[in-house]
C-alpha cells in the first residue's frame, strides 16, 4: 500500500473504520490491509472533525520505528490539511511505543510512583546481567529455612556434566531459575501470588488439583472432586473411567505418588529460588533507579492501579487511545491499557499474526476483546498479487477453517480486484530433499538467472541456524547476500575477542595471555613461532624489548606495535575503554589489517560497532569493559553483527520471520520448512497464564509436567502456524516455498503440501529436484 496518504482514497471497508461512530472498538486487519493508512486517517478525523488536539490522542505502536513512521505520516497529513498548530503539537506528541509511554508515565508521575524522575532504562544486555547476578547471589545464599529450595540445590548442583568441562556446577539451576523468573515476571501474577501458591508441596498440590480438574472433560470433573485417591494421575484416570469419558493424553500412564511429590517439591524449590531472585532484582533496580522493560510495565501498571491522582490526570490527558498491533500485547500491557480508563479506544490487530508469545504476548486477550465488543474488519490485502492471496487463503482456510478470514474476498457488490478464476500465479513450490539449503540456493540462482533482482529477494528463515545455513550455501553459490541483523553472535566473534584482549593487555601488561593473544591477532600478527618463544617465560612484557623473532617480518611488526603500545599502557587504566579503543584505532594498523582479511568488511564493521558500544558505557575502563565482553559471551547474549552493507544494496536478504513482520518484498523464499512445529519437552515448563511451574529433573514425568508440556506444545504449534501465516503474507509478486518429503512430525512443509495440488491450482509453478511420492488418493 502506498504511503502517500494524500493521494489515496479509502476503500469502503477502510472508510467504515475511519468513520466508525463507536467510541470503543476493535479492528481486525489482515496482512497488507493498509492499517497504518487507516490509523492515520482516523487520527486526522479526530483532529479535524472532532477538534481534538494531537496531545489528547495517545497512539501506541509496537516498535520505535513504527512510531516514528506513524508520527511522520500524521504530521505530514496535518500540514497538508493546513492544520499547522496541530502539526506542531503532533511533532512532539504522544505517538509512541508502549515502553516509551510507560517511561513517560512514570517520569511525569514520579512523585506518585516513588521513582527518581531521572531513572534509567536498562539495556537488554545489562538487564540480563543483572538477572543472572541476582540468580547467582541467590544460589550462593544458605536456604536453611527453605527446605524445598535447599533440596533442589542439593539435587541439581553438580548435576551438569559440563562441570567436568570447567563450567559452573550451577549451570542447570541458573538457567532453570532464570526461565521461571522471566516467565513469571511477565505474567499477570504478582510476586506475592506466586509465593503463596508455591509455599510448600501440599499447597501446590491443591492448586494442581484445581488446574487438572479444569482440564478434564466436563463430565469427569465432579467425579474427580469426590474421589479420594492420593495419586493424581490415578485419580484423573479413575474420574474419567467413572464418567465414561476418554482419559486425556496428559493423564495416561502409570501413577507414581512419590514421583509426584518429588516434582512438587522441586517445583516449590525452584519457584522459591526464582522469587528470591525476583525480590533481589526489584530491590537492586530500586537501589540503582534503573528499570528494565518488564519493570517499566509492572511499575506503570501498579501506578495506575494504586494512584487515583495519576488515573485522574491521565483521564484528563488522553481522550482517545489507538493501539496498533494489539494482538501482541501481553497481559500486563493489556491491564495497563485498561487502567488508563479511556472511553474511546481503538485496537487494531490480527490474531492470525500474533507471533510474540515468547515475549509473553497473549493473543487470547485480543481475541476475547474482538468477540465481546464491537469489531470491524479490514480484510482486503493490498500487498500481494491475487495468485498469492488465493494460495494463502486456500492453505489457511484449510488449516483454520471458519476462524480464518480470507484476504481475497469480495466485500462489495462488485470488486474488480477479485480474481474470480482463482489463479495461483506468483506461487512457486520448490520440491527438494530434506535439509537441503543447497537446492534452495540452486532455485534462487534460477530466479536470478530469470531476471529477478537479488535485492528483491528475501529468504525468511525460522532461526539463526537456518540463516547461517542459507548464508553458507549462497556464499558457495556466489550469490551476494546478507543476514539482516547478523548472526546474533557478535560478542563471540574473533575480532571482538581480540579487542577484549587488547583492552586487557593495554591496562594490565602483566596479563600474559591477553598480551600474547594481542600479538597473535591481526592487531600485530606475530607468527606462532614468536608467540611460542615469547610465551615460554613469564612475564612476556619484560621480554618484548630484546626479543629476536625467529620469523622474518615479526621484528618489524613487533617494533611498530611497541611504538604505540608502550606509551598507551602507561596511561590506559586512566582512560575509558572507548578512549583506549579510539587510541588503538588511531595509532595502530589494526583497521587496515582487518580490511585485508577475507570477510574484512564484516570484521571492520564489528570493530567499529564495538567502539560505538563502548562509548555507551563511558564509566567502564579497559579492564572492566574487557570483563564485560567476557561476561556477555558467557551469558550468550544475542547481539547482532554490525551490518556491513546497506539496506538497499543488491543482495539477497536473509532474515527470520519475526524480523520480517511488518515488512514486504517482491519475492519471498521460505526454506527451512522441515522443522517440527512442536518443541521438545524441557526440564522446566512454565505456563504464565496459569502461573504454574512444573519440573522434570528426576527420572519420571509427573502428571503436572505432562499437562503443562502438552498445553505448551499446543500453544507452540498454534503459534508456529501463525508464524507461517506471517511468512506467507510478506511476498508482493512471488512466493517460493520449499517443500521436502514428508516426515512423521508436523512441519510447515507437510501442512502446505497437504493443500498443494498443481492440477487444481492454475498458475502455480513447481520446480523439483526429486520426484515426489504420488499423492494418496
Amino acid at each position: 500500500m502506498s504511503s502517500d496518504s494524500k493521494t489515496q482514497i479509502p476503500t469502503a471497508e477502510q472508510r467504515q473504520v475511519i468513520e466508525a461512530p463507536e467510541p470503543n472498538f476493535t479492528v481486525i486487519a489482515s496482512a497488507g490491509a493498509g492499517k497504518t493508512f487507516v490509523l492515520v486517517e482516523r487520527y486526522l478525523r479526530h483532529v479535524e472533525e472532532e477538534l481534538l488536539q494531537p496531545d489528547q490522542i495517545l497512539t501506541i505502536t509496537f516498535t520505535k520505528k513504527a512510531a516514528a513512521e506513524m508520527k511522520k505520516r500524521i504530521v505530514q497529513r496535518l500540514r497538508q490539511k493546513g492544520l499547522m498548530e496541530q502539526a506542531q503539537i503532533a511533532e512532539t506528541g504522544p505517538i509512541q511505543t508502549i515502553h516509551s509511554f510507560c517511561e513517560r508515565l512514570l517520569r511525569e508521575n514520579s512523585l506518585e510512583a516513588g521513582l527518581d524522575p531521572q531513572f534509567e532504562i536498562m539495556a537488554e544486555d545489562r538487564s540480563a546481567r543483572l538477572v543472572t547476578n541476582c540468580v547467582r547471589e541467590v544460589l550462593a545464599s544458605p536456604f536453611d529455612d527453605e527446605p524445598e529450595a535447599e533440596a533442589l540445590i542439593r539435587f541439581l548442583a553438580g548435576k551438569r556434566q559440563g562441570f567436568g568441562d570447567n563450567k559452573s556446577p550451577y549451570g542447570i539451576l541458573e538457567s532453570a531459575v532464570e526461565t521461571v523468573l522471566r516467565e513469571l515476571r511477565g505474567s499477570k501474577f504478582d510476586y506475592t501470588a506466586v509465593v503463596d501458591r508455591f509455599s510448600n508441596p501440599t499447597v501446590l498440590r491443591q492448586t494442581w488439583e484445581q488446574v487438572m480438574r479444569d482440564c478434564l472433560p466436563e463430565r469427569a470433573r465432579s467425579v474427580f472432586d469426590e474421589l479420594d485417591v492420593p495419586d493424581l494421575r490415578q485419580r484423573a484416570q479413575q474420574a474419567c473411567k467413572e464418567a465414561s469419558v476418554s482419559v486425556p493424553g496428559w493423564a495416561r500412564g502409570k501413577g507414581d505418588a512419590d514421583g509426584e511429590y518429588e516434582g512438587a517439591l522441586h517445583a516449590c524449590g525452584l519457584v522459591h529460588l526464582a522469587c528470591e531472585a525476583w525480590w533481589r532484582l526489584d530491590r537492586e533496580m530500586d537501589r540503582l533507579q534503573e528499570l528494565d522493560f518488564s519493570s517499566l510495565e509492572i511499575r506503570a501498571n501498579r501506578l495506575l492501579l494504586n494512584s487515583q491522582v495519576t488515573r485522574e490526570r491521565i483521564r484528563g490527558q488522553y481522550l482517545v487511545i489507538m493501539v496498533d498491533e494489539s494482538q501482541d500485547v501481553n497481559p500486563i500491557q493489556y491491564s495497563l491499557l485498561d487502567n488508563l480508563g479511556c472511553e474511546r479506544v481503538m485496537m487494531v490487530g490480527d490474531a492470525q499474526q500474533s507471533i510474540y508469545a515468547f515475549r509473553q504476548a497473549d493473543v487470547e486477550l485480543f481475541r476475547s476483546r474482538a468477540v465481546s465488543g464491537t469489531t470491524k474488519r479490514l480484510l482486503k490485502n493490498w500487498r500481494s498479487v491475487p495468485g498469492i492471496l488465493n494460495f494463502v487463503d486456500a492453505v489457511f482456510s484449510g488449516l483454520w477453517g471458519q476462524e480464518y478470514a480470507p484476504m481475497q474476498t469480495n466485500t462489495g457488490p462488485m470488486d474488480f480486484d477479485l480474481d474470480d478464476d482463482r489463479s495461483y500465479e506468483g506461487v512457486e513450490i520448490w520440491r527438494q530433499p530434506a535439509k537441503s539449503p543447497t537446492s534452495t540456493a540452486g532455485y534462487i540462482r534460477e530466479l536470478i538467472d530469470e531476471g529477478v533482482e537479488k535485492g528483491d529477494i528475501a529468504i525468511l528463515v525460522r532461526d539463526g541456524a537456518g540463516a547461517l545455513a542459507m548464508k553458507k550455501v549462497l556464499d558457495e553459490a556466489e550469490i551476494a547476500n546478507r543476514i539482516t541483523g547478523g548472526s546474533e553472535r557478535f560478542y563471540t566473534r574473533l575480532e571482538v575477542r581480540d579487542l577484549a584482549n587488547v583492552l586487557r593487555a593495554t591496562a594490565d601488561p602483566y596479563d600474559d595471555f591477553a598480551l600474547l593473544a594481542t600479538l597473535r591477532s591481526p592487531m600485530v600478527g606475530l607468527s606462532l613461532d614468536s608467540i611460542a618463544l615469547l610465551g615460554m617465560e613469564s612475564f612476556v612484557i619484560e621480554r618484548l624489548g630484546d626479543f629476536e623473532p625467529p620469523v622474518e617480518g615479526d621484528g618489524l611488526k613487533l617494533r611498530s606495535f611497541l611504538e604505540w603500545y608502550l606509551p598507551l599502557n602507561q596511561i590506559a587504566d586512566r582512560l575509558s575503554a572507548w578512549e583506549v579503543l579510539a587510541e588503538i584505532y588511531a595509532c595502530s594498523d589494526y583497521l587496515p589489517a582487518l580490511a585485508r582479511r577475507a570477510k574484512g568488511d564484516q570484521m571492520l564493521a564489528n570493530a567499529r560497532k564495538l567502539l560505538t558500544l563502548a562509548t555507551e558505557e563511558p564509566e567502564l575502563g579497559p579492564l572492566e569493559y574487557s570483563d564485560r565482553i567476557r561476561e556477555i559471551q558467557d551469558l550468550r547474549h544475542k547481539e547482532g553483527d554490525a551490518p556491513a552493507d546497506d539496506n538497499d544494496a543488491d543482495l539477497v536478504k536473509i532474515l527470520t520471520i519475526h524480523k520480517a513482520k511488518g515488512l514486504e518484498w517482491p519475492v519471498v523464499v521460505l526454506p527451512q520448512t522441515d522443522k517440527a512445529l512442536t518443541s521438545r519437552a524441557r526440564d522446566v515448563v512454565v505456563e504464565p497464564n496459569l502461573g504454574m511451574v512444573a519440573t522434570k529433573f528426576g527420572k519420571g514425568q509427573g502428571i503436572m509436567h505432562k499437562l503443562l508440556t502438552d498445553m505448551k506444545k499446543a500453544r507452540n504449534e498454534a503459534e508456529e502456524r501463525r508464524v507461517l501465516y506471517v511468512a506467507l503474507t510478506r511476498a508482493q509478486r512471488r512466493l517460493c516455498i520449499c517443500i521436502v518429503p514428508p516426515s512423521n512430525a508436523t512441519t510447515a512443509s507437510k501442512l502446505i503440501d497437504g493443500f498443494v495440488d498443481p492440477a487444481q491450482m492454475p498458475g502455480i509453478r513447481v520446480r523439483s529436484t526429486y520426484a515426489p511420492q504420488p499423492r494418496p488418493v
Partner: protein
C-alpha cells in the same frame, strides 16, 4: 533621578545580527553588554575584540553589581553544588504525607526540584507568594505549594548561612532599591534571546527607571512564523514596540511557514551515513576540508552520546577539534584510585589493596605485584594483627613501597577517632598532596592526562566541600573513616568533571550561540525523537497545576507548560539554521546499533522551505564507503584504510610452527617425564598441550576458577582423614585458602557463589567418601597417601619407555585390585569416552597394575558421582554400584573375553600414547577442533576454535548443528 530609555530590537539569531547589534551599541564607548544566556558571552567578546571599551558581563554579575551600587548586601552567588547540597538537606525534613516524601533521597528529584524552584523565582514567585497561592489552591496543589515554599525557605536559609545568595534574590533586592547611576552603567545591552523570564524583564524596567539606557535584543523569525513566543511575551510585558534587524536567507524566511519564497541563497545539504560513527567521520572530513575550517562548526543536539564518537573519529583522522564534554567523575582513574585508597583504609581486609596494585600510577612490575599480593594474603591471615603486620612489612620496604607507607600512615591517623567533616576535608587534602603517592605528584607535570587529573582533584574537593559546608552550617557531626569513605563514594559517584580539550580546531557544541561567526554548520543526529525532542511534563508541577497557578496569579505572565516547552524545539532548530551563514549540512545515521532510524521531520520542513527536494543537495554515504575514494582522501588514516580495502586479501597466519628454533623450544628434552593429563591433552589437542604445559598460560576466567575447586580433596588430604569432622575441617580450610588466592580477581557475588558451591561440593565429597569406605572397603592398612608414580605399588615407565611423573592422591588395595585414587574430570562413561579419556585412565591402570593384581581407579569428580573404574571384573571381590550413594562401578572391558578386552583396551592406549608423545616431541602444535573448543580458553591464540576460528568459516559449529 531621570528615567532611562528602553529600546527593543528583534533580531534573527546568528552572528551577523549579533555583529550589527554590537557594532551599533559600540558607537558609544561606554556600557555593558550582557545576555540572559551565558553561552552568548564568548561570541560577544570575540566580535567586540580585546580593545573594546565595552564590558561583557554575565547577567547575574550585572545584577549583583547594580545591587552593590544600590548599597544593598549582595553576597556571592551560590554555585549549583551549594544549592543541590542545601536542597538535599532541606528535603530531609519533609513529612511523610508530603507529595514529595517518597522521592526525597533521589538526586534526579533534587535536580528537578531545583529547576522548578528557579523557574518559579524567575517568574516572580517567591516562597511568600507560594504560600499565598497555596491558600487558593485545591488540596493537593496547596500541599505542594506549601512544601515548595518551606523547601525554598530552608534552602535560602542554608545558603545565607553559607554566605551565598541566589540570582533571584539579587534581582528582588534591586527591585526594592533605588540606584544612583554613574559611569558606564548608564548603558546596557541585553541579549535576551527568547527564554521567557518575567522577573528579569521587571528588572530591566527597573533599571530603565533608574536612568539606565537599556537596549534589549530578542530573537525573531524572518517572516511571520509563530515561533520565539517567549520573546513575544517579554516584549508584550515591556510594552515597547520593537525594531527589527537581521539578514535573511531562503531557509530562514520560509522555515515553519507554509511558504517557500525565494530569498538570499544558502547551501543546504542533507547527508545520510550508515551509522553514528560513520556520520561523525563524514562530518569531520567535510568540516576539515571546507575552505575555512576555522569558520566551521559541528552542532550536536545530544552531545553526551555523540561526544565520544566525535573524539574517537577526530583522533583517528587526526582532525583537531574543540569540544567541551563532561564525564562521570569516577571514570577518572585518579579519582578512582583515591577512592580505592580511602576504601582500603576503611576496610577490615588488607587484601582490598589488590585493586590498587595494577594501577599505572604505581608502575609495579608483575613480580612486584605478585609479591605484594602474597604479602597481603599473609597479612590477612593474621586477622587482628593484619594491619600491623602490613605496616611493619611496608616500613621494611619503604624504598620500593613508599606509597604504601604513606597510605598506611594516613590510615593510622584517619582511623584514630571520629573527625568532623571539615576535619575530614583537611585530611583528604593532606592525603591528596602527599608527595609519597605517585598519583599526587601533579604539580610539575604537563599534558592532557595531568590536566584531567588536576580537574578531577578539584572537582572531588569541590563536591565534598559543597556538601561539607552545608553540613557544617546545619548539623555538624563527627564521622568515622568508614562513614567518610561511604560519603566520598556517594558524592563522587554522582559527580561529573569536564574533560580538557584542545584550544584549536573545529568547534563542536550543543548550543548554537557558542559557534560565534561561522560560515558552515554541520548538524548531526537529525532524527525523529531527537530533533524535536518528545514533549514531557515537569514531574514537580504538572501542566494542570501550572495552569491553576497561572489562574490564581491572574494578570501575571502564565507559567510555562509542557506545550510551550515543546514549542521551543522549533526555536532551537531555527537558531541552529541561523548559525551557519552560507552553508548548513544536516546529517543523520540510517541505523544505530539497535534499529533502523527515521530522519527528523524537520528535514522535510527544511526541504520544503528551500522549495523542494531538488533545491537542496543530498549525499548518502554507503556503508561500505569507510573512507573517501582514491584521490579524495585528505587524511592519512583514510588513505591507509582505502589501500587495504582495495588491496589483495591476506591469508590468516600459519597455524603451525615453521622454524626449528620454535619447535626445539617447545619440545621437552628427550626422556622427559609426563603427567597423565598432559598426554591426555596432547592427544586431544596439541595446541592445548602447548599453551597449558609448555607456555604455562592460565586465563583468569570464571570456568578456570570453578575448575580450581576440583583439587580441594587432594590438597586437604581427604583420604587420610579418620573421621568426618576432621575431613570437613580440612576441606573447609583448603576451600578458604583457594578462595584467598582468587580474592583479587573475583567480585563479591562470585566469591559468595564459589564459597557456597565449594561448601556444597564438600558436603557431597564427604558423603561419598564415607559411603565409599563402607561399600568399597579397602584392605586393611593398604592405603598409602600421596604416592608418586614409581613409588609403592606403582610403575612410572609406560610402554615405549615413556616416563610418567606426578603424584596420585593415594593408592590402596581392594581385593585383587590395586586402586589409584585420583580427583579429576575425565569422562568415565564408556559410551561417550574419547581416546584421550581412555589414554588418561589407561595410563593410571597401567601404572598400578602388577602381576596378579589388576589396576583400578577410584575417581572423585565435581559432578555427582564417584567412579571405580576397572578393566574387567576381578573374581576376587564383588564390587557394586550404589546410585543412592553416588557410587558407580565402571567396567571398561567391552568384549566378553576378558583377556581380549584388555588387549584391545591397552592396544588402543599404547597407540594413543605413541601419538601423543610423537606429537609433543615433533613440536607439532596445530590445534584440533572438537568438543573441547566449547570450553577451551585458548581459542584466540589457536585461532581455529570450533566456535569462532578465522582459518575458514567461523560458522562451522552452527553449520554442523544445522
Amino acid at each position: 533621578m531621570s528615567t532611562g530609555r528602553i529600546r527593543v530590537l528583534r533580531a534573527i539569531p546568528g552572528s551577523t545580527s549579533l555583529g550589527s547589534i554590537l557594532r551599533d551599541f559600540s558607537k558609544k564607548p561606554e556600557g555593558v553588554v550582557t545576555a540572559f544566556a551565558d553561552s552568548m558571552l564568548p561570541a560577544c567578546r570575540q566580535i567586540l575584540g580585546e580593545d573594546s571599551p565595552l564590558e561583557v558581563l554575565s547577567f547575574a554579575e550585572v545584577v549583583r553589581s547594580f545591587l552593590v551600587v544600590c548599597g544593598e548586601e549582595a553576597l556571592p552567588l551560590a554555585q549549583s553544588g551549594h544549592k543541590e547540597a542545601a536542597l538535599a538537606y532541606s528535603v530531609r525534613g519533609l513529612e511523610s504525607d508530603s507529595p514529595f516524601y517518597r522521592c526525597r533521597d533521589f538526586p534526579g528529584f533534587h535536580e528537578a526540584l531545583m529547576r522548578t524552584l528557579e523557574e518559579l523565582h524567575l517568574w516572580g514567585v517567591d516562597a511568600a507568594e507560594m504560600k499565598e497561592l497555596a491558600r487558593g489552591a485545591e488540596p493537593r496543589l496547596m500541599r505542594k505549594l506549601n512544601d515548595l515554599a518551606e523547601i525554598d525557605l530552608a534552602v535560602a536559609e542554608v545558603l545565607e548561612r553559607l554566605g551565598r545568595h541566589q540570582h533571584s534574590q539579587h534581582i528582588r533586592g534591586c527591585l526594592d532599591s533605588v540606584m544612583e547611576v554613574e559611569g558606564d552603567q548608564s548603558r546596557i545591552l541585553v541579549l535576551a534571546g527568547a527564554e521567557e523570564c518575567p522577573l528579569r524583564v521587571d528588572w530591566l524596567r527597573w533599571a530603565s527607571r533608574q536612568g539606565i539606557d537599556v537596549t534589549i535584543a530578542f530573537d525573531r523569525h524572518a517572516s511571520d512564523a509563530n515561533i520565539f513566543r517567549g520573546a513575544t511575551a517579554m516584549i508584550d510585558q515591556l510594552g515597547v514596540k520593537p525594531g527589527t534587524i537581521g539578514p535573511v536567507n531562503q531557509l530562514l524566511r520560509n522555515l515553519f511557514t507554509d511558504r517557500s519564497e525565494p530569498d538570499e541563497a544558502v547551501r543546504v545539504t542533507k547527508v545520510s551515513a550508515a551509522d553514528p560513527l560513520a556520520e561523525v567521520e563524514w562530518a569531520l572530513r567535510g568540516s576539515a576540508s571546507a575552505a575555512r575550517p576555522d569558520r566551521t562548526g559541528i552542532y550536536v543536539r545530544d552531545l553526551e552520546s555523540y561526544a565520544p564518537l566525535i573524539e574517537a573519529a577526530a583522533k583517528r583522522l587526526a582532525i583537531p577539534i574543540r569540544m567541551t564534554r563532561r564525564a562521570p567523575l569516577l571514570t577518572n582513574s585518579f579519582a578512582r584510585l583515591t577512592l580505592s585508597a580511602i576504601q582500603f583504609s576503611a576496610s577490615n581486609d588488607v587484601r582490598s589493596l589488590a585493586t590498587v596494585l595494577r594501577s599505572s600510577y604505581l608502575r609495579l612490575s608483575g613480580p612486584n605485584q605478585n609479591e605484594l599480593g602474597t604479602q597481603l594474603r599473609t597479612c590477612y591471615a593474621q586477622k587482628q594483627a593484619q594491619w600491623e603486620t602490613l605496616e611493619n612489612w611496608a616500613k621494611e620496604h619503604t624504598e620500593s613501597h613508599e606509597w604504601l607507607v604513606a597510605i598506611l600512615d594516613w590510615r593510622r591517623k584517619a582511623a584514630n577517632s571520629g573527625w568532623s567533616l571539615p576535619e575530614w576535608f583537611g585530611l583528604l587534602q593532606e592525603f591528596n598532596r602527599d608527595q609519597r603517592l605517585p598519583w599526587a605528584r601533579l604539580e610539575n607535570k604537563g599534558g592532557l592526562m595531568d590536566e584531567r587529573d588536576r580537574r578531577a582533584l578539584n572537582q572531588m574537593e569541590r563536591l565534598l566541600a559543597n556538601h561539607i559546608s552545608v553540613d557544617n552550617v546545619t548539623e555538624p557531626s563527627k564521622t568515622s573513616l568508614e562513614g567518610f569513605a561511604r560519603l566520598c563514594e556517594r558524592i563522587w559517584r554522582s559527580g561529573d568533571v569536564s574533560i580538557p580539550t584542545a584550544e584549536e580546531g573545529i568547534r563542536v557544541a550543543s548550543d548554537p550561540a557558542l559557534f560565534g561567526d561561522i560560515e558552515r554548520i554541520h548538524v548531526l543526529g537529525m532524527l525523529e525523537g531527537v530533533f524535536p525532542r518528545r514533549r514531557s511534563e515537569d514531574p514537580i508541577l504538572t501542566d494542570a497545576e501550572r495552569h491553576a497557578i497561572s489562574a490564581l496569579r491572574s494578570f501575571a505572565p502564565k507559567l510555562a507548560d509542557s506545550e510551550s516547552k515543546a514549542q521551543k524545539e522549533r526555536d532551537e532548530f531555527y537558531r541552529v539554521c541561523a548559525a551557519g551563514k552560507s552553508e548548513i549540512v544536516f546529517s543523520y545515521p540510517l541505523a544505530d546499533d539497535q534499529r533502523d532510524n527515521i530522519p527528523a521531520f524537520y528535514l522535510t520542513e527544511a526541504e520544503r522551505a528551500m522549495g523542494g527536494e531538488s533545491r537542496i543537495h543530498t549525499h548518502d554515504y554507503p556503508r561500505q564507503e569507510l573512507a573517501p575514494l582514491g584521490e579524495e582522501s585528505l587524511f592519512d588514516a583514510d588513505r591507509r584504510l582505502r589501500q587495504a580495502i582495495e588491496g589483495p586479501t591476506e591469508s590468516p597466519l600459519p597455524l603451525e610452527l615453521v622454524t626449528e628454533a620454535a619447535k626445539n623450544a617447545v619440545r621437552p628434552p628427550d626422556g622427559s617425564p609426563f603427567m597423565p593429563h598432559m598426554l591426555r591433552d596432547a592427544l586431544q589437542c596439541p595446541f592445548l598441550y602447548l599453551v597449558r604445559y609448555r607456555l604455562n598460560l592460565r586465563v583468569k576466567r570464571q570456568s578456570e576458577r570453578w575448575g580450581s575447586l576440583r583439587k580441594l580433596p587432594q590438597s586437604a588430604q581427604l583420604l587420610s582423614k579418620q573421621d568426618l569432622a576432621d575431613a570437613e575441617h580440612a576441606l573447609q580450610g583448603a576451600l578458604e585458602s583457594e578462595l584467598d588466592l582468587l580474592y583479587a580477581d573475583v567480585p563479591d557475588w562470585e566469591m559468595n557463589l564459589l564459597r557456597a558451591g565449594g561448601q556444597r561440593l564438600i558436603r557431597d565429597w564427604l558423603r561419598r567418601e564415607e559411603r565409599s569406605r563402607e561399600k568399597w572397603t579397602k584392605d586393611a592398612g593398604s592405603l598409602k597417601q600421596s604416592v608418586a608414580f614409581g613409588g609403592e605399588y606403582t610403575k612410572n615407565v609406560m610402554p615405549g619407555g615413556v616416563k610418567l611423573e606426578g603424584t596420585l592422591a593415594g593408592i590402596s588395595r581392594l581385593g585383587g585390585y590395586n586402586v589409584a585414587h585420583i580427583y579429576g574430570s575425565t569422562n568415565a562413561d564408556p559410551k561417550s569416552m574419547t581416546d584421550s579419556d581412555r589414554l588418561y585412565l589407561g595410563l593410571h591402570l597401567l601404572a598400578v597394575h602388577e602381576p596378579g593384581r589388576d589396576g583400578a581407579i577410584e575417581m572423585e569428580t565435581t559432578g555427582s558421582k564417584r567412579s571405580l573404574v576397572i578393566l574387567g571384573r576381578n573374581a576376587s571381590r564383588e564390587l557394586a554400584s550404589s546410585a543412592v550413594d553416588g557410587l558407580q562401578v565402571v567396567d571398561l572391558a567391552t568384549a566378553d573375553d576378558l583377556s581380549e578386552a584388555k588387549k584391545q583396551f591397552y592396544d588402543q592406549v599404547k597407540k594413543s600414547l605413541r601419538t601423543a608423545v610423537q606429537t609433543i616431541m615433533e613440536g607439532r602444535v596445530e590445534a584440533t577442533r572438537g568438543e573441547h573448543c566449547a570450553w577451551c580458553d585458548y581459542g584466540e591464540l589457536c585461532r581455529r576454535s570450533q566456535g569462532f576460528g578465522e582459518d575458514d568459516s567461523p560458522f562451522a559449529l552452527e553449520e554442523e548443528e544445522a
